[in-house]
């Protein structure tokens, strides 16, 4: 009999009822008495000196209540990078101040240098337009190209940084020479230069923030589109505005997607708080889509050369990469860790490679800040590696599947310390590869190639075997590596007198279905109905603490904290039950929602125990406090290591270059799975984004630093009809060894594993069709593929 609730069951997402019936409550839905509207005045040039902003010119315009410029925030702090990276020579990274509003200079198109607050949105827009017209900004040469930026000491994004270089990082620097030698002595070396294209996150809900200030109590409230409300509070209080942390509440209500872009604190959040304080009225701001394109933190944007040394039969001996990573005009909160510790440490992939060295230079340019985007660093590593291995296989005339099999770590090799500093606890990469091959019906591939050919199409197959590191931790390690925060999480489990349960979690759900999956977790452990459990997230006034949701950490880290808190509840429940049952605590067993005296039929239900905790008439008051509420903080002792194998089959139309994905197969190992339907959905979404990166999405700044792809007229989001029906499997499970749930995380997998599988497939199709193409940079638009075919 299939179970209908609990762990491993595809419970319907309870949050979907409100989302699908229009009852979701997003930041912009919050309407407040006396609210004012803020509009940001954004730079139209990529780089310029602010000569004059005539705030007087608009102060008399209808409805205008305040105008802010960079000057108004010159006394407060800046928005910091969350991670300090040291260069190869030991010097710390260069970290320019990131002000609330641009001051002195504007540094990218869309850089906000002023804000207007008015009674209505139209009035604020009218005044903002007028202000922009009267502002005098002396245009400076735009710095757009990364290679150009670091060789140009004349033009500087930040005047104090002479070569536009944030840092020059080597990982692991001590291994550099050994890796050089290993490459020199390798019988074969494959070299590949590739672009990891810049992406605009495009969450369906644009960023939005509302600031409130109560002069009576001195309390502030920020309602905002955040994946990470506690971090936002910490940054605003400790670094930017100096508000005492207990005086600021940050609420992130329903949030319509983030993909990384809403992890970070943005200037608009500080602006609405400062404006609310000044005006004593709520101040709200919501980005329009154009502002989102210009001012959300973008993703990826790497330029990489990878070299892979191997034997002639494809055994990998050494890997060396050298990368330029664009950080844009300012350091966004995770912009320094993403291209380094989330990228360099993954460069060995799921393979047994003796020698790996990664060099990465982070470069300032006059473009929007670049930060973590679904996958964050790991897609970049996976793409470089999986493309290079494919090229290597082709050069050596070897089957790319066999080359991977030859190099994959085997189950007996775990725990495995990689040459780039990670300890993989467990995995079975052969299993997922075999599973993908089986599900993709590879044995009939050649007949499909023939069939495509008879229709005038070129068919190809692409594989990627990928690994990622999720649930970034532990705090003491990340601290040594430069993190300025800890990476644990917290949960409170509050049982009411009637036995219903509220769980306060530091994770934030913005589409992931936490309210359902976490309820399954807690309900099954306490043996109560799922609908007796409510998940509370996104409000710093209700939740002890949290580090938010990103990096596929929510279940592995926040879920583990929850599990620990539930353990404490059970422990206390046993004490209460022992008293009620007049037994010894060690003789009490908790199972299926009942506390039972071992070997007897004497038992109390969870509900009875909860009731007793709040109505303690018959209760061990001398030794135990009443109430049933527990909090746990959980700091994992390692990352988790999801892994998998993705197979993609494409058809290329040789007349137009158009690529059609015929099938896409994912065999993933996420460890234990709580809700398989939600996991399927996460993989679907991730793969859709990965296919978007591989085939359609392209962010282009021209030489003047103007964003040419600043709307959906030119920026191509993947659409339903670009995608095949996905075959998704997660039956290969090697439970994580170090967290109590045995889970690994699934949120980013799809976006990590899929781009190389798609590109490998297209290159394969072209080669099968007689075109000796070695590489095409993403996105593989029809035009690019056609051009590659022209030779």
């Amino acid at each position: 009999m299939p179970k209908d609730s609990g762990i491993g069951v595809a419970s319907k997402r309870r949050e979907d009822f409100r989302f699908l019936t229009g009852r979701g409550k997003y930041t912009d839905d919050v309407a407040l008495q006396g609210q004012l509207y803020a509009v940001m005045v954004r730079s139209e040039v990529a780089h310029g000196k602010i000569k004059k902003i005539d705030t007087e010119a608009i102060s008399e315009m209808p409805g205008v209540r305040a105008v802010f410029t960079g000057e108004d925030f010159s006394e407060v702090g800046g928005n910091p990078a969350g991670w300090l990276i040291n260069s190869r020579d030991g010097t710390p990274m260069r970290e320019p101040k990131r002000p609330v509003l641009a001051h002195g200079k504007v540094r990218h198109v869309g850089d906000a240098y002023a804000a207007v607050v008015a009674e209505t949105l139209q009035q604020a827009k009218d005044a903002a337009e007028k202000l922009a017209e009267s502002a005098v900004i002396e245009e400076l040469p735009a710095i757009v190209d990364m290679a150009g930026a670091i060789s140009d000491s004349e033009n500087r994004v930040h005047d104090e940084i002479d070569d536009n270089l944030c840092f020059d990082w080597g990982w692991i620097e001590d291994n550099r020479e050994v890796v050089d030698k290993a490459l020199t002595s390798s019988p074969h070396v494959t070299t590949l230069q590739l672009v990891n294209n810049r992406l605009v996150p495009n969450a369906v809900e644009p960023r939005s923030s509302i600031g409130e200030y109560d002069p009576g109590t001195g309390e502030y409230k920020l309602t905002t589109t955040s994946q990470n409300p506690h971090l936002t509070r910490l940054l605003i209080c400790a670094f930017v505005l100096g508000i005492p942390e207990h005086k600021l509440t940050v609420v992130a209500p329903d949030v319509g997607g983030g993909f990384g872009s809403k992890i970070y604190h943005y200037g608009e959040e500080a602006l609405v708080l400062a404006a609310a304080r000044k005006l004593g009225r709520p101040v709200r701001w919501t980005a329009d889509r154009s502002e989102s394109f210009l001012s959300d933190a973008h993703g990826r944007d790497h330029l990489t050369t990878i070299e892979v040394g191997s034997t002639m039969d494809g055994e990998i001996l050494a890997i060396r990469t050298s990368t330029l990573a664009n950080v844009g005009a300012y350091l966004s909160n995770f912009s320094t860790v993403t291209p380094t510790f989330l990228h360099g440490t993954l460069m060995a992939g799921p393979y047994k490679v003796p020698h790996v060295y990664v060099n990465l230079k982070a470069v300032f340019t006059n473009t929007a800040p670049v930060d973590a985007y679904r996958g964050a660093g790991r897609p970049e590593a996976t793409y470089s590696l999986e493309r290079a291995i494919d090229k290597l296989s082709r050069e050596l005339n070897l089957d790319p599947i066999e080359v991977r099999k030859k190099n994959l770590l085997t189950p007996d090799q775990f725990p495995y310390t990689s040459p780039v500093g990670l300890i993989y606890d467990i995995g079975n990469y052969q299993n997922t590869l075999d599973k993908a091959i089986e599900l993709a019906d590879l044995k009939n591939f050649e007949s499909r190639v023939k069939k495509s050919k008879s229709n005038g199409k070129l068919r190809g197959l692409g594989l990627s075997t990928w690994i990622e590191a999720c649930g970034i931790a532990p705090s003491n390690l990340v601290g040594q590596l430069g993190a300025r925060v800890g990476l644990y999480d917290a949960a409170t489990v509050r049982v009411s007198a009637t036995g219903t349960i509220q769980v306060m979690t530091g994770a934030h759900s913005h589409g992931q279905g936490h309210e359902t999956a976490f309820a399954q977790l807690v309900a099954s452990k306490l043996g109560v109905a799922e609908d007796a459990v409510e998940i509370v997230h996104g409000d710093t006034s209700k939740i002890p603490f949290g580090m938010g949701s990103y990096g596929s950490r929510s279940l592995a880290v926040c879920g583990s904290a929850m599990d620990r808190a539930v353990d404490k509840i059970i422990e206390k429940g046993k004490k209460i039950a022992a008293h009620m049952l007049e037994a010894d605590e060690i003789d009490i067993t908790f199972e299926n929602g009942n506390f039972t005296v071992n070997g007897t039929d004497k038992s109390k239900s969870f509900g009875e125990v909860a009731f007793s905790a709040y109505v303690p008439h018959n209760y061990p008051l001398e030794t135990l406090e009443p109430g049933l509420e527990e909090t746990a903080f959980y700091d994992p002792n390692n990352f988790t290591y999801p892994a998998g194998a993705y197979l993609c089959e494409v058809e290329v139309d040789p007349d137009t270059g158009k690529v059609t994905i015929c099938s896409f197969t994912c065999a993933d190992d996420f460890g234990n799975v709580i809700n398989p339907m939600i996991v399927d959905g996460q993989v679907h979404g991730g793969v859709a984004q990965g296919i978007g990166q591989a085939l359609t999405e392209q962010t282009v700044y021209n030489e003047e630093g103007q964003l040419l792809t600043a709307s959906y007229m030119d920026y191509t989001m993947p659409r339903a009809d670009d995608l095949p029906f996905l075959k998704v499997d997660h039956s290969c499970q090697t439970p994580c060894t170090h967290n109590p749930l045995g889970v690994k995380g699934c949120g980013e997998a799809g976006a990590i594993g899929s781009p190389p599988a798609v590109v490998n497939a297209v290159v394969d199709a072209l080669n099968r069709g007689g075109h000796a193409v070695t590489h095409i940079d993403m996105p593989l638009s029809p035009h690019r593929v056609w051009q590659a075919m022209q030779g």
Partner: protein, 262 residues
Amino acid sequence: MYNFDFTRPSTIKEAVAAIGAGGQALSGGQTLIPTMKARLAMPETLVSLTGIQEMKGICTNDAGQICIGAATTHAEVAHEVAKSYPALSDLAGHIGDPAVRNRGTIGGSLANNDPSACYPSAVLGSGAIVKTNSREIAADDFFQGMFTTALEEGEIITEVKFPVPQKANYQKFVQPASRFALVGVFVAKFADGVRVAVTGASGEGVFRWTEAEVALSKDFSAATLDGMAAPSADGMISDLHGTGAYRAHLVKVMTARAVVAA
């Protein structure tokens, strides 16, 4: 968006008067409204054409031409001419998305003459006649380059009359982001010859590929095109989504496909 006044006349005459007094025509608003929202247009008065019955609907006249009122939506055209002019129906049915098709109109599309729009190729490819409040304009004279038409100041399109070819087909290779035509080719075979109209490709807007017309008029088969060169890439649009050479190549590919599908 800036403030504006709004009128919704019920006759062509009233509309022309209101436009003559400084108003701007608003039909489906699928081009004009987004432009206004982005504050790139600031008409003082909008004159809606959607309340004018004589500008709506589809009929066949005595000459056998399909007459489409200028304020008829893409969705209506797609539905109504499915049997009488399938190629035109198919073109209209693939403009934008359902929302765009339920609001956007043939008159608005032609007046706008976006170089990537679909309708201009059908109008030019069919040798249709654009009727305005004051005259009739042959398709060959109507389109005068990117976003430019023969319309005079204050003149509005009221109807479009399509001769129905023996065979026709529209092939649209979409610009991946906007899904307008990166290259769209409308091929129509009439008793007295073949017309091939190309949209999306040229910086001058929709044009006729006369070499292909001559060849196809002699032999209406894709094979005829095999030996032919693609049209010159000079003057073709080059942008993020494709070079002029790519567009020129696609013109030939799409023409051949249209011939096969016609």
